[in-house]
């Protein structure tokens, strides 16, 4: 099989599915280490079909096709052994590049998972989507940005320790904020129709974002640098680079997930959370103070969002008041993907979405559609399996 087809400059690269090119196939024997360069006179539709076909066909057949179509073949000019790829916007992903995207995707997915957990926990106990959750993500990052330098001067901690203490403090602050929002805005509306609560959540989100953007009242709309708390070390494992920030992301996420799982499965509070999520009234009849459990849920969810925010900021190095909008929406999609109300589902959804987005984003041709990936996934899952990958279908009782 031809490894790839190169085009004469001036012709358009066709709609090659680039994964075809990723197969590590040997070059045609007649090619002295170089690939084929095929000159196609114009980029009409038939020419495109020919180009695609040449990619899939075995060598001998391809050679015949080339003859029949009266296309000329010339050995590669440069003489350097390289595979020929369609020139232009469709660059190939080699295996290592693909793995790199996976690693990046896992780090991104871990952050999405942390945010998605908050969404799914709140939905589990209150049956509503907390639009303001993404703003707690942002506030966590800003809290970290404000705390870290001051902490450095107060306590003589090393880089990583400083980062961890900052993380814990920011999580605590956002946990309090989350509870505050719940008590002030959502609790009074407990019995109102869900639409009203949803719009309230949108209002809170808007309020936080606008105040944060305001120069006088908030942080100002400009993008700020996030202090580099982690010494920048990179490891190379067989062509894949792993940065220290990614390692921290994996580590922190793993620890937080373990803590959360232990809390939900083994503690009294966690059992109460699961009970309230299933049936609030029945839980109340067991002596559970439902309001307190709901507040606790908000606190935990918000703390996780804050952690996500700081990890995100560590990873990308900058923060701005609207940084939570896109990750928040995507994390919500992740929660739906995994099954809303389902904690392992949120993790799975986050990771899947992160990896998919990273792979799409890594491909230069599709990179501008990166943001739309999440929504496409959302619509697909809601059409095909609305209860999510790990969710259970519940029938609507008449």
């Amino acid at each position: 099989m031809l490894v790839g087809v190169d085009f004469e400059p001036g012709t358009q690269g066709g709609p090659f599915p680039h994964w075809l090119n990723k197969r590590a196939n040997p070059l045609p024997r007649s090619c002295p280490g170089d690939g084929w360069k095929v000159f196609v006179p114009h980029s009409s539709a038939s020419a495109r079909i020919v180009k695609v076909a040449l990619c899939i066909l075995p060598d001998t057949v391809a050679a015949h096709v080339l003859e029949v179509c009266d296309l000329s073949i010339q050995p590669h000019r440069a003489g350097i052994c390289r595979r020929c790829w369609p020139s232009g916007p469709l660059d190939p992903l080699t295996v290592t590049e693909f793995l790199q995207q996976i690693v990046n995707g896992l780090a991104l997915g871990a952050i999405y998972a942390l945010i998605a957990l908050g969404y799914t926990m709140v939905y589990g106990v209150l049956r509503f989507i907390n639009f303001a959750h993404s703003d707690l993500f942002m506030l966590g990052a800003y809290a970290g940005a404000l705390i870290a330098p001051r902490l450095g001067t107060l306590l003589p901690l090393g880089g990583v320790a400083n980062a961890l203490v900052t993380l814990v403090l920011a999580m605590a602050i956002c946990a309090l904020l989350g509870v505050l929002i719940e008590i002030l805005a959502y609790r009074p509306l407990r019995d109102r129709p869900r639409l009203v609560v949803l719009i309230t959540a949108i209002g809170i989100s808007m309020l936080i974002e606008q105040v944060a953007q305001n120069g006088r009242l908030g942080f100002g709309p400009e993008v700020r640098r996030f202090p580099a708390l982690i010494p920048d070390v990179t490891w190379h494992l067989g062509g894949v680079t792993l940065g220290s920030t990614s390692v921290i992301v994996f580590g922190v996420t793993a620890v937080l997930l373990a803590l959360l799982t232990w809390t939900v499965k083994c503690t009294r509070v966690g059992m109460a959370m699961r009970a309230v999520a299933f049936n609030e009234k029945a839980a109340a009849l067991m002596g559970v103070n439902v309001n307190r459990i709901i507040s606790f849920t908000f606190a935990v969810g918000s703390a996780l969002a804050a952690a996500g925010g700081i990890l995100f900021a560590l990873n990308f190095g900058k923060i701005d008041p609207l940084m939570g909008v896109q990750p928040g929406l995507k994390a919500f999609v992740a929660a739906v993907l995994g099954g809303i109300g389902n904690l392992p589902g949120a993790c799975l959804g986050g990771i899947v979405l992160g990896v998919v987005e990273s792979v799409v984003g890594g491909n230069p041709r599709l990179t501008s559609y990166r943001d739309a990936v999440a929504f496409a996934v959302l619509i697909l899952i809601l059409l095909l399996k609305p209860e999510g990958l790990l969710g259970h279908r519940t029938k609507e009782k008449v």
Partner: protein, 317 residues
């Protein structure tokens, strides 16, 4: 309004024509005229969304996406054909044609959104419509043919006060007729209790999709008007925030009340002008307005009925 809608429509159109004839640049400050056009456009947007949200009870957060489709389609047609058919005699025809095309394109988008939304309720529907709105925005942002992120410039200023208000009157008329007709009872039935409606033989599917399609059509019209008023459009102007602006109008006016929604559209279009001295805090006040409304008076400012929608007493377990 319910008795003789045709008369109201006629009166509104005559009024619009008269006002537009007499409001030639010499008469009224063009800036205020521009604001009045904005009002008309927002009325169309609010009333069309009201059909989906208020009357049929489906929560749509992507209305700006339909508006975008209409705006871009109408503009593309005008920009493409204006050179050849630019004469003053043909302009109204060209404009009407491009508006109609924009509306129809948006209606198609409404169909695309309405069909998958069939089995979704409340929160999920809201998110899916939001997703569609975002997808439309992203597609427009990456399509070089329509200017990608920079948008379309130099759209001829075809929208006038007369056009905007005449179409607004038309929108109100169509929606009002639709809802008040026997057919229209179906919308309200779907709103009140979908399961009950279905068990009575009402094809809820058809109503939900119809609501989306018609709502989207008028949003597309509004988009076309908007494009030919501002003379410049970009995908960023049709994002989630824009959808929320329209949703707030519907809520402020009381979901389902056409008169209230019109009043709310007028108020919310004029509000930024009034708030110009505190423009810096405009969006903050806006957010506080939404919150205050929801906490204190979720039935809207312009309704006079008892607070509806409160859950009935505790259900039997």
């Amino acid at each position: 309004m319910k008795r003789h809608p045709q008369l109201w429509l006629l009166a509104a159109i005559i009024l619009a024509a008269v006002l537009s004839a007499s409001a030639r640049p010499a008469g009224v400050n063009p800036y205020y005229l521009g604001v009045a056009v904005d009002v008309g456009i927002n009325v169309i947007l609010a009333v069309s969304l009201n059909l989906i949200n208020g009357h049929t009870g489906q929560f749509s957060l992507g209305h700006a996406g339909f508006m975008a489709v209409g705006a871009y389609v109408a503009s593309s047609i005008t920009l493409g054909l204006a050179a050849r058919f630019g004469g003053p005699a043909l302009t109204p025809l060209l404009f009407a044609g491009s508006l109609l095309a924009g509306g129809l394109a948006a209606a198609l988008a409404g169909l695309a959104v309405g069909v998958p939304s069939l089995r979704l309720r409340g929160d999920y529907l809201a998110i899916v419509t939001l997703g569609f709105g975002e997808i439309i925005r992203v597609i427009l942002q990456t399509t070089d043919a329509v200017g990608a992120a920079s948008g379309l410039k130099g759209i001829p200023k075809f929208t006038s006060f007369g056009w905007a208000w005449a179409l607004a009157a038309l929108t109100v008329y169509v929606v009002a007729c639709l809802v008040n007709s026997t057919y229209g009872r179906g919308f309200i039935a779907v709103h009140d209790d979908e399961v009950a409606a279905r068990s009575m033989g009402i094809n809820t599917t058809r109503y939900k999709v119809t609501a989306f399609v018609i709502g989207a059509f008028f949003a597309g019209l509004a988009g076309g008007l908007y494009a030919h008023h501002k003379q410049f459009i970009s995908p960023g102007g049709f994002d989630f925030n824009k959808s929320i602006e329209i949703v707030v109008m519907v809520i402020l006016g009381g979901m389902g009340r056409t008169a209230g929604v019109i009043a709310a559209a007028i108020v919310l279009t004029l509000l930024p002008e009034v708030l110009r001295p505190v423009a810096e805090y405009r969006m903050i006040l806006y957010a506080l307005l939404i919150l205050g409304l929801m906490l204190a008076r979720p039935q809207g400012l312009f309704t006079w009925e008892r607070r509806t929608g409160a859950k009935p007493g505790p259900q039997p377990t």
